[in-house]
């Protein structure tokens, strides 16, 4: 019987070097059975590289890594037999149909054909692709391909599912559908490890997460803990018509002392505060009149901003 707090993945000072560029620079983390664990970080932070090392398709250049108490260097096949992997770029087999993608993949795990077919049908039902079973993969939309990749990763009833940016590039509806399925998996007690650069995704899905930046872990904890530790409860967003970037940065200096930390962004200034009304009053008192004032709860985005001084996803507007 697996213990509730059984550790599935254990990394100590894990490193990966490409040429003279170090993509992962000594990270420590532990992933326990039954939890949803997240790697949050901007592009190039080293999330995929870490995932690939855990998935035993990339040899660590240093440090210590254990998956299911096994050594990836010697027991790669045994570890991979118990993992489900959704790589960043799906890597679906475009020469096969949707259904064949599942049954053939099952074959790689040594699953018998009859069993594979039953399991494939069940998983297609789960990701709502049964109607497309005989279509070619290339005819599916991005969201459908993603769901198929998720179904494929579950074919061997894995102990741990690795999802690399499960919803990047999907439209809002497709994202919600994926989230719903992942949430369902979580409810069923499947252990999940996911990377993302979306705050809302991390907040919704992850029990615990680490924030990665330039190959290092710069913060760790539950979403709530991170917010409590690194930022205040509330955030006030101030916009000033016609003033951007440097103009805003100058203005930010005038706001000193008005709340907690002040963070100027290209199009707005963030004021971290425990009490938004106090801040509004203080603005009034200094005769600073923004064109718009928005008062909201702090999010992981703010944590990331606070820690690195820049936004996670480059402004899409």
């Amino acid at each position: 019987m697996p213990l509730d707090n059984e550790i599935l993945v254990r990394a100590r000072d894990l490193r990966k070097r490409y040429g003279n560029h170090e993509a992962v620079r000594g990270v420590d983390f532990e992933i326990r059975r039954g939890e949803a664990f997240g790697f949050l970080g901007a592009n190039g932070a080293g999330k995929s590289t870490t995932m690939r090392m855990i998935g035993c398709v990339s040899e660590p250049s240093g440090g210590h890594l254990e998956v299911f108490d096994l050594d990836p260097h010697t027991d790669g096949p045994a570890i991979r037999a118990r993992l489900g992997v959704v790589p960043q770029d799906n890597t679906l087999d475009t020469m096969l149909t949707v259904f064949e993608n599942l049954t053939v993949y099952a074959g790689y795990f040594g699953i018998k054909r009859r069993e594979a077919k039953a399991k494939a049908a069940e998983l297609l039902e789960f990701v709502q692709l049964s109607a497309r079973a005989n279509d070619q993969v290339n005819d599916l939309s991005g969201g459908m391909q993603r769901r198929l990749a998720i179904a494929r990763s579950l074919i061997n009833a894995p102990d741990l599912v690795l999802l690399d940016e499960p919803t990047t590039g999907l439209d809002p509806q497709a994202r919600h559908l994926v989230w719903e399925r992942l949430f369902q998996l979580k409810q069923q007690g499947v252990s999940i490890l996911l990377t993302t650069h979306y705050m809302d995704e991390a907040e919704q899905l992850c029990d615990r997460l680490v924030v990665m930046d330039e190959g290092r872990i710069i913060a760790a904890g539950s979403p709530r803990e991170l917010i409590d530790t690194y930022v205040t409860k509330e955030v006030v967003e101030l916009r000033f018509a016609g003033r951007h970037t440097t103009a805003l940065a100058e203005l930010a200096l005038e706001l000193d002392g008005i709340g907690g930390q002040i963070e100027p962004l290209p199009d707005r200034i963030l004021v971290y505060t425990d009490d938004a009304e106090d801040t509004a009053a203080a603005l009034e008192a200094r005769d600073i009149r923004p064109t718009s004032v928005l008062d909201r709860r702090a999010t992981l985005e703010d944590v990331f901003l606070r820690l690195t001084g820049r936004a996670l996803v480059e402004d899409e507007a």
Partner: protein
């Protein structure tokens, strides 16, 4: 003991069977394409074996025996069919799966290892080569070119050729960067076809050219198949077999090493 070793072999080979199954499922819709590839060799047989052959009449071999030119050329074209079937499959198709479709990236997330992938591709190439060889042997029989039962041995001889070129093709697939590289591969293959002893005895070549021919893998395949289908055994056949098997082993091993290096990044 034997039960254990049987179990071991089974455990080593089973994963490559999954790779084979994948190719079978992926390609069964394109069977026309595969089978039509065998037609090419038949065209060469008709053009050179029968067309040109009827102008040559009989050819006198270095050992003094005379046989019809058609019977002389046919085994060489059979060897060529075995080569083309496996080489095209392992080089071009593996390249496409490896660099374009990223099929192997997906597969390596499972318990499969690069060696299983390489071996599975070899099995599949053998099947495709076997289809070409089968078509060709049937045609040879239909045109009365199989005069002794020994000639049936030409089929297993083709397995050595197929294995050798499967290994070579796999290795090439890991080295190639773009499609134009295949033009050059085909150039070398065609040069081997024209000068590997297909059409005239190598002994008739100028002296400087002979050592070059002896290096060509296809030459060894042709010698083997021709010797067997003419019922003329020779101790050199052992050398032919060893050379081809060495190429198969080295090629497959190098290929899986390079696949691992490229995919386990």
């Amino acid at each position: 003991m034997s039960v254990i070793s049987y179990g071991l072999v089974r455990a080593r080979v089973r994963p490559s069977g999954s790779m084979l199954a994948r190719n079978w499922i992926a390609m069964r819709r394109a069977w026309v394409l595969i089978v039509s590839g065998g037609v090419e060799s038949l065209l060469f047989l008709f053009a050179f074996g029968f067309g040109v052959g009827s102008m040559v009449g009989d050819i006198t071999l270095p050992d003094g025996t005379a046989i019809s030119y058609t019977a002389y050329v046919a085994p060489a074209i059979l060897a060529n069919a075995a080569m083309m079937g496996t080489l095209l499959e392992t080089s071009i198709n593996v390249f496409a799966k490896f660099k374009w479709m990223k099929v192997y990236d997906g597969i390596l997330n499972t318990p499969m290892r690069p060696g299983d992938v390489a071996l599975g591709e070899v099995w599949w190439a053998l099947i495709r080569g076997g289809i070409y060889v089968g078509m060709f042997v049937i045609a040879m029989g239909a045109f009365g070119l199989l005069d002794s039962w020994w000639s049936v041995l030409a089929v297993p001889a083709c397995v050595f050729i197929a294995l050798a070129f499967a290994g070579i093709g796999l290795t090439l697939a890991t080295f190639f960067r773009e499609w134009t590289d295949f033009d050059w591969m085909m150039a070398v293959v065609f040069a081997m076809f024209l000068f590997g002893g297909t059409f005239t005895p190598v002994e008739a070549y100028p002296g400087f050219a002979q050592p070059i021919v002896y290096v060509m893998p296809l030459y060894h395949g042709i010698e083997l198949v021709r010797g067997l289908s003419l019922g003329a055994f020779h101790p050199m056949m052992l050398v032919n077999v060893l050379y081809l098997m060495a190429l198969a082993a080295v090629g497959t091993w190098v290929a899986q090493r390079r696949l691992a290096k490229a995919l386990y990044k």
